[in-house]
Amino acid sequence: MIKLKNITKQYDSKKLFYNFSLDIKAGEKIVILGVSGSGKSTFLRLIAGLEKVDSGEIYLDNKLVSKDDSILVDTDKRDIGFVFQDLALWPHFNVFQNIEFGLKIKKIPKQKRVELVKSILEKVNLRGFENRAIDELSGGQKQRVALARTLVVKPKIVLMDEPLSSLDKDLNLQILDEIFTLQKELNFTLLYVTHNKSEADFLADRVVTIKSV
């Protein structure tokens, strides 16, 4: 499903990855562990095509998408979902519009879009929140909107960059459980970045630990 072959990436003089390789199967839940600055987030951004590798190859679904300083398949053509650490919910859109965005881009008819948004809001326990402004939501609710926005387009791969780092412990466990259930139901491949070992133990089929070179 995801194959990284001899990836090298460095910023200025700091080498984050050197000849790094990894194979991930479809439907697998991989947790990436590592200390701050070790390159966990960069790892996800390379897979998403938001950044180029210095050398090496990245394959998604057996298709070469990045190779040696070139993006061969643009981010929006990679069939991925991404939950960012700061969630990046667009403040000029309400909850419905945030979630609807990806469906609109895919030119899904309005009626179908409404159905899909309502259905995903139900799944993340946010029924009735469609017209809320983003700044009216609590931390946990924002988290669920970000999750819904990512999952509504049914991506094959979902990348999550420390999505629960700003939540308290109870809420953290609750949403982690929801992610676990949704992954099982929708069967996407999950790459989950965290520095929290208990999150890794709860979620992971496999844990990859990144250390600075």
């Binding site: 987030s41 951004r45 998403a48 938001l50 950044e51 643009d74 981010t75 929006d76 991925i80 979902g81 991404f82 960012f84 650490q85 700061d86 969630l87 990046a88 667009w90 403040p91 000029h92 965005f101 990806g102 881009i105 895919k106 700044d135 926005r149 990512t150 387009v153």
Partner: protein, 454 residues
Amino acid sequence: MMLFIDTVFLSLITTFIAVLFGVFFGVIFEKTTLAFKHTFLILFTLPLLLPPYITALSFSELFGEWLFSFKGVVLVESVIYLPIPMLVTFLLLKNINSSHEDSARIFCPWICVLQKITLPLILPYLFLVSSIVFILSFGNYSVVNFLRYNTFISKIFVEFSAFYEYKSSIILSLLILLMVFMILWFEKNYIKKNYATLFYSSRFKNKNLIELKNFKYIIFTFIFVLLFSFILLPIITLVINSASLSNYIKAFELVSDSIYRSIIYSSIGALIITLFSFLIALIIKRKQLHILDFATISFFALPSSVIAIGLIYLFNNSITSFIYSSPIIIIIAYILKYSALSNRIFSANLAQLPHSFEDSAKVLGASKIYTVLHITAPLLKGSFLLSYFLSFIFLLRDTDMTMLLYSAGNDTFAVKLFTLMANSPQEMVSALCVMMLLIILTPILLWLILRKIF
């Protein structure tokens, strides 16, 4: 009334063109991989830094009589004010939290991200910038005077100079104060609310640039043609017209006193503005005295001639005549008119300093003054430099206010050049314009060097 409507129309068209091209350039220079984009950015900023009538003069040598019309005024003012939306767009996009764009790039290509996410996010700021360009264009005197086009502002100037009539000034001032109030209200209610989430919070700021691919030659050619036609060619024309070295020597002998005075007034004014603005920004932050922000922005927005008329009324009496008849009145006018720019620089940078920096000094027993001098001010050294040089350049180029305020023997280079333009040979005027350009470029180069050292 017709003149007022005509001036509003002129300013609206100017604002539309300046903002349209300014935003386009800002996006291209910040978000794409276009070659020489930073050189383009600096060169397109030049007309804003020069006294406006120099751009008008250089254009007139190129376009001839056609320029002395409504279209000509729109063209000159659009080129002069285009750098404002361009620089603001450039800075907004440079500091925008890239997660907002990255999360949209998961769904669609860059052009759609710009259209649906980036530009709508910065739209309220662009509305503010448009209002500022409108006010500046509305209040401009030297361009319309040079191009012999009647506007509401030129009417005020003539009425005051000839008949000491100031009713129109008062009406206009009230209208502009109302506009400033609306702008600040809009800023408070629609802009500051989302500021923290929109900017600065991403760790991956500004790393992704748009590959222009097949469009790079078309866009490069388009921008280069505009740059050559409206910036480089007018300057080249001035240089060619200025003829010979002896011409420059003659010109320098004629204006050396004014240049000296310009540098002195601008140095003193910029220093006072910088220190004053730092204090004002501190007071606004700590005491939440937003009336001070309103006051500085209002003075910036008021047409220069209106401020000058107000100061003449204030100081032209037996008690304060020593101020009226000396350069002090010019420096006071500079402080009133231009403090808003520095104040905004300090306010923006103060807002980014975590409270904990000052709090930790306080916990360790430092007094407020000690903390400001040893913690806050050193952390803002970049803002001090930028504020000083920016103020220096704006004071150096000021014509509209200084022209009404200078007393005999106290004129500045910008004013002297403006008066010489009417009755001096063309090659002499061109040489003086080139000298002004070099004088303006010197502090810019100095700032670029000092910025790296500090």
